[in-house]
């Protein structure tokens, strides 16, 4: 069984947010609640300010703190290493949102960022808390895929509706391989500078394993012990996109 993981090359990332928009298209996300965001930081002062950005999906940790705190075992780890939420079990207590060190979980019934609320424009019924006309065909509440019912937490699934259909035993899901394209997570498939790679971390011959080895893949907040399955390549002298630093962001006017 594969252990799916992602590698994000910050030397290539342009901060364009296509990963975020492809994610919201594929996963029917509401405005401002994409399963994955690009976060921007400003440091330094004129005439030498710096702007940096950092793309952040769910880390699909090997030791997910969100899972450990879940009182109903709604959050679980699949055999192929993906952290998912079973909406049939989720009670919306939000413990997981507090426990997650990466801030990548979303509660369904937050106040809408933008009015009119899309949920009121495209009303849903029954188990669908809303129902936009552009909704995708996949609906799998046991794996947290599709449109949420009311009152649950949701998160990035590594596009589980795609990767779970992939042929067994492939080392990488590479969008440039025609037979595999439909099984690649949206944020990886769309990425124009090809800053994202998706593959089997347990397979030493996979591209993701090679990149982590050759380019010194690092994990965000590794000290928490969560052991993310998303690795970042910071390159030599990567400009623009970067792991958030501790440089002071305060400045005197």
């Amino acid at each position: 069984m594969a252990k799916w993981g992602m590698v994000i090359d910050l030397e290539k990332c342009t901060g364009c947010q296509a990963c975020s928009t492809a994610c919201q298209m594929e996963n029917n996300r509401l405005p401002g609640e994409n399963y994955q965001d690009v976060i921007y930081y400003t440091e330094g002062r004129q005439p030498t300010p710096s702007l940096k950005w950092f793309p952040r999906p769910c880390m699909h940790c090997e030791e997910p703190s969100c899972m450990h705190v879940c009182p109903t075992k709604a959050t679980f780890k699949t055999e192929d290493g993906v952290v998912l939420i079973d909406w049939n079990k989720c009670i919306g207590c939000k413990y997981c949102m507090v426990a997650c060190p990466y801030g990548v979980r979303f509660y369904t019934d937050e106040k809408a960022l933008l009015e009119p609320n899309l949920k009121d424009v495209f009303k849903g019924e029954g188990e669908l808390s809303w129902n936009p006309p552009y909704k995708g065909p996949q609906q799998d509440p046991a794996h947290g895929v599709g449109i949420q019912p009311a009152g649950v937490v949701s998160k990035c699934t590594f596009c589980y509706h795609k990767i779970s259909k992939a042929p067994k035993g492939v080392p990488d899901l590479d969008e440039d391989v025609a037979e595999l394209r439909e099984f690649v997570p949206a944020c990886v498939r769309c990425c124009a500078p090809k800053a994202r790679y998706f593959g089997d971390l347990d397979n030493p011959a996979s591209k993701v394993s090679r990149l982590i080895s050759e380019k010194d893949g690092t994990r965000l907040l590794d000290h928490t012990g969560n052991k993310p399955q998303v690795y970042y390549l910071t390159g030599a002298g990567a400009a623009g996109s970067a792991v958030p630093s501790s440089r002071s962001t305060t400045s005197k006017a």
Binding site: T14, A18, T42, Q46, K89, Y134, G136, S241
Partner: protein, 828 residues
Amino acid sequence: MEILKSKVSRRRFLQATGGAGAAGAVIGGTGIGGLQTLGEAQAAAGDGQTKINTSICGQCPARCGIHVYTTNGRVHAIYGNPEHPIANGKGCPKMFLGTYILYDPDRFKGPMKRTNPKKGRDEDPKFVPIKWEEAYQIVADRLNALRDKGESHRFGLFFGRGWGASDVGVNIVPFGKLFGSPNVPIGHSSICSDGSVVAKQCTDGNASYSSYDYRNANYLLMFGANFLEAFRPYNNNLQTWGYIRGEKVPKTRVTYVDVHMNQTAAAADRALLLKPGTDGALALAIAHVILTEGLWDRHFVGGFKDGGNHFKSGETLDPASFNERWTSGLVEWWNAELKDRTPKWAEGVTTLPADLIIKTAMEFGTTRPAIALFERGAHTHSNGLYNGMAIHSLNALVGSLYAEGGLAYQMGPAYGAAPANPDDFLDEHAKNGAWKKFPRIDLQGHDDGYKLAKNMIQEAGANQLSGKAGYKLDTALFYMTNPAFSTPNARDWEKAMETMYVIDTSPFPGETAWLADLILPDNTYLERWQDAPTYPFQGWPLAQIRTPAIKPLYDTKTFGDVLIEIGKRIKGPTGEYYKKLDNVENILRHLAKGFEQTPGDNGVNSFETWVEKGSWYKKPYLWRQVRGEFFEWDGKGYNKPMKADEVKAKLLKTDSGKFEFKSSKLEHEAAWIAAKTGRDPKKLAFPQWEEPKHTGSGDLHFVTPKTALHCEGRGANLPNCIAIFQPTVGGRTQAMAELHPSVAGAKGIRDGDRIKIKNNLGEIEAVARVTELTRPDVVVLPFEYGHWAMGRWAKSRGAHVDSIVAQQSDRVTGMANYYTGKVSVEKA
């Protein structure tokens, strides 16, 4: 646990823990049903199968190939077409917003006519639905009546996005010729980027955007062309960036010039944040250093007869001492302008340290191949022509024109003939009618207007009000342009629309539609047929085709078909011409016949294969300059040497057949330019420094850039776009005004405060984002918002930046000076 109990009782916890997920997990499984908001087109019975349609995106001029995924009659996903040479299976952030455009709940549902004779922002048009047949007849009756009265010039057709006028699906140019109006069509290029087009025409003779061979370049010097946010083809730029910065050996070095820190500036090796409107001064200083340091390309430019280098700052030279090869006027330019444009001088103009200018010049001059590129940031000022010419001259100095890793111009596709030739359908009125005596309403090409510009849509509204062109339009039709919102001083256009019969064809309820008398709603780009020869890309010809992924959701029609239907109802041979064209699909089938003789590299040799693959293309680009020699492709390589007259006819299309540092085009018009601008007729043909004439009033420059999420003007009504519109400074519900802390501090403005941005034209309100990203003399507020129509999310959101941008245009290029205004700010 009380919380658990109550939740479980509301949910079907036990019932569902077992198999509920399994049933829905199948891709293309059972349909969801409950199509509550749309009509019967959507309610098609679902068979659960996913259909993938090959088409092209419509959210910027790049027109990336897309695959559109439809299941049970609903479009739910769009990805890049892997076989399309621009998209390569990838997408920019806009590509994935397409379904929101298709299903925008504020779209027009069918043709309508106005019943309230009064027009204005506060006048409800009281539109009533009509049938398409009635709509066509209303337009045809108006146009036939104008023609009968000898007033056909009083009909105007204004269009926006278009690579040429052909990618409507029908070429709209013949309508003017057949019907008889100088105002059919008037494009929007003067509010787009004509500044660069005309700057290139004045130097190398090509009135066009350039094609670029970025992947083979080792140095990119970008002036105000926001490569990673707004420059096209955006998707391919991003792909290029990943390659040149993450994989290519050696890594391409990038210097980026702008007025605030944006993503391209941040990702570049060096960001030069200069004073707005001074890009030309920087380029001139770089040229100065290239010459004084002897770094120019001897093969392309030539050299001193004695083999030395005699360019010394401040000293003139004898032009006869230098043998020029493919350039013309170098020493004259040096003597008239360049000799004094030292880095120290440029520091005083641009505020950039001289040592950084020298470093940049040394890098650019010593790294080959190198490209200098520019767009609106550099040329939307009164001195835009010269800024552009100075920057483009750098390409000549380092020999990048038509070189590998350099820049060139785009070839057109091998289209077949259209179903009919308009020249066979000209009647007496078309050939010799009174309309021929009238200038265009925008006075483009006219001595009293913008003689050398390509279009002047931003002047047409004011001229309609003043009667400056000697007449007023009776009827105007708008396609993919909304001048009542998007032109500088848009109020003129707004008032002008009250004085004419307005026909709008947008699918969306924009400002022009609100002022319209007739609404003929277009299909969105996922519902229509259309062809699109590529926007300038890599030079080799490429033509993509748009096909409907889904039947129109509503009673809307493709604009190309609407124009043909109107044409059919014009009396005389014009009607016969349009009957021959019949419809857009028929035209596309005729165009595709050209591919039978010239099959594409991807095997496309017919209409059917074009539709299947989504594009026809044929590599390579046919010409290349190698070390100062020009060669043509002979089928195997760049082996056929070109003579000077061939180079002049095909590549360097100036009077001299060379790249002209002294522009013959400007020399020919020197008297007119001097009279209109006060420029020195002896010097005006050279790229030179000229202080920009800033409009407005106040102590801050007001810069209103395009962001990545512009979505061809529709972003303001897409909630999923608004939420990520301005990510660098956190503009999530509207655009925020970037203000330097020193400015904010002096005015008592805190981050997040509402502020007034004002000048002599008026004032707008915005939310301040106090940030070090922006220069202390600049306030940055991206354009997009401030609509007073356009849909439920767009209306009244944010500020309309163009309401405080004056209508000043470059007198030569016609380019609207969008980024040259001055303002002051205060706490609201």
